[in-house]
Symmetry: C2
């Protein structure tokens, strides 16, 4: 079924008619109109996803793609200690996309928006002759923004959850055609439908005084590299403390890649990565476990040696080099 | 010169280090951090530009492309009666783009940002294997948002300036290889470096009580069609009152197209299109001329007959049909 611009806008209006936050006028005028936030600070972020770079049309359901496109922005707001409010969606489409695909895409995005109380308030829909393009811009609010650059020597590095699952899922997408095992399905789901740690981010930022935070969207290695650079410190990562799921270990085994490399160099886990004093970490842990039924996991320690990223294994320490995927 | 992601971010930081508005932290963290606006309402808009759909790399300078990408969003804020504040820039790039191109692109965007007091506070830079993609999301503020749907019978239709110049410029781009005439250069400039009517929009919205406003980005025909639909009215457009430049008339003549068709069906003029009571139009005109050294131009009148768009010429009236360019 061929898409008409009017149909696309009508469809978007029918899906994105929520008003969970500060919306005065959504889709349908030159701009959206919002009531200003009541928080002390406003957050503003954008992410662009390009077909065959960030997703492959045949390898992700439109529902999950819609979910994920919004979720990755929510994760950025979560890592600032904020609450998301309103988003715009710009879409570059062509005749690879039909009405039903778009319905499922909008449904996935709407379900993510409802789950995290976000209103989709406007955007743009244009023709893109080659790649499908998705850009989300998201607003949020916080009274206490959490930055990346206030780390001191001896602060510990912690994560809200397992690392490597998403990359294991990507490996499955690229290497397994069908008849997925349970392990593979688990990692595929982690890759295709990430759940940003919004409540966790809010709890952590409210309860820790000396905190730096970032999300692990760009791999653990890249994430700690950024943290080290911004505070001119080095870090030791303790291999045995890095949480890696049994499922990811099984897939890494099949792929003949070390599980720790999935965790270090794979991105898109959308866990929060924290730097904080050990004392504050210890103080918050019990309450965190009580609320979230999972624990904050210490995986490393910041050290004086500038910008050195060291992996401490059972027998030795080795300096890590950048093996992350680069597009440019 | 091949682009590296770090270079792109460093270059963006070096260009977009302004703080003209409410910025607390710009490029370099998970999100930008802003102080909330002091206006009663916040505006939020996004536009996506795709190579070979909205621009052709060889036919626009990177400087003008950078300018225009931001300007089209500023025009949306202007037509809401608002003032723009902060923008994010998402870029999808590939090896067609080199460092010097990107410098000129950023320079054009920065000059537009300075001209209209906008801060570029963040965004995303990704690899796009086929088309270059540009998405700008812009925030703004106003105490009195101006919508499109409050038009009554007998209200007049007015514009802040000439229509058709941009489309004439596009025709030149598509049909003339070199040795541009003065007329052609005039229209090329109008097409490639539009100047949003921000001050005009603010003056008009502050001084007119019963006002609907929109920008003419999507052609005069499409614009009045939207206005008519939203208020369930029809409109008479008086051909001889539609302002068309001598330059556009000369190019239309060369193209063997009626000048009025350039004005009616060509888009991207970024003039403001107003609907308001005749009395209010008359009351504001002198002051408007004094401030802006140009006048508001009445070009039509809204009538009861639902959704009929009629062009009144010297000898007859004819109902107009949609000849606007459609991508889908």
């Amino acid at each position: 079924m061929k898409l008409k611009e009017e149909d696309i806008i009508l469809l978007a209006k029918s899906f994105f008619n929520t008003n969970l936050n500060n919306l005065v006028k959504g889709i349908g005028d030159d701009t959206a109109v919002l009531k200003p936030l009541k928080t002390d600070y406003e957050l503003f972020t954008s992410d662009m996803l390009i077909e065959d770079v960030h997703f492959i049309l045949k390898k992700i359901t439109p529902y999950n793609l819609g979910w994920k496109a919004l979720a990755v922005n929510i994760s950025d707001v979560a890592s600032m200690g904020g609450i998301p409010t309103c988003a715009t969606l710009s879409l570059g489409l062509n005749n690879k996309i039909d009405y039903f695909w778009l319905e499922m895409f909008y449904q996935g995005m709407k379900d993510c928006a409802l789950e995290y109380s976000v209103d989709i308030v406007g955007g743009d829909t244009v023709y893109s002759p080659n790649s499908i393009v998705i850009n989300i811009s998201l607003l949020g609010g916080t009274d206490k923004p959490i930055y990346r650059n206030k780390i001191k020597n001896n602060y510990i590095l912690a994560t809200t959850g397992e690392l490597g699952n998403s990359y294991a899922g990507l490996w499955v997408l690229q290497n397994i055609k069908n008849n997925f095992s349970e392990d593979e399905l688990f990692c595929l789901e982690k890759h295709s439908k990430p759940k940003p740690r919004l409540k966790e981010g809010n709890f952590i930022s409210s309860n820790i005084q000396n905190l730096s935070m970032i999300d692990s969207s760009d791999s653990l290695y890249t994430t700690v590299k950024i943290l080290c650079e911004q505070s001119n410190l080095g870090i030791k990562i303790f291999e045995k403390m890095v949480p890696i799921s049994e499922q990811t270990k099984a897939i890494a085994n099949k792929a003949n890649i070390k599980p720790i490399d999935f965790a270090l160099y794979g991105g898109e886990d959308y866990e929060l990565i924290l730097a904080l004093p050990k004392q504050e970490f210890d103080n918050i842990q019990d309450e965190y476990i009580r609320i979230f039924s999972s624990k904050l996991i210490c995986i490393g320690e910041f050290i004086e040696s500038s910008n050195e990223i060291t992996l401490v294994t059972k027998n030795k320490s080795k300096k890590l080099k950048d093996k992350s995927f680069k597009h440019f």
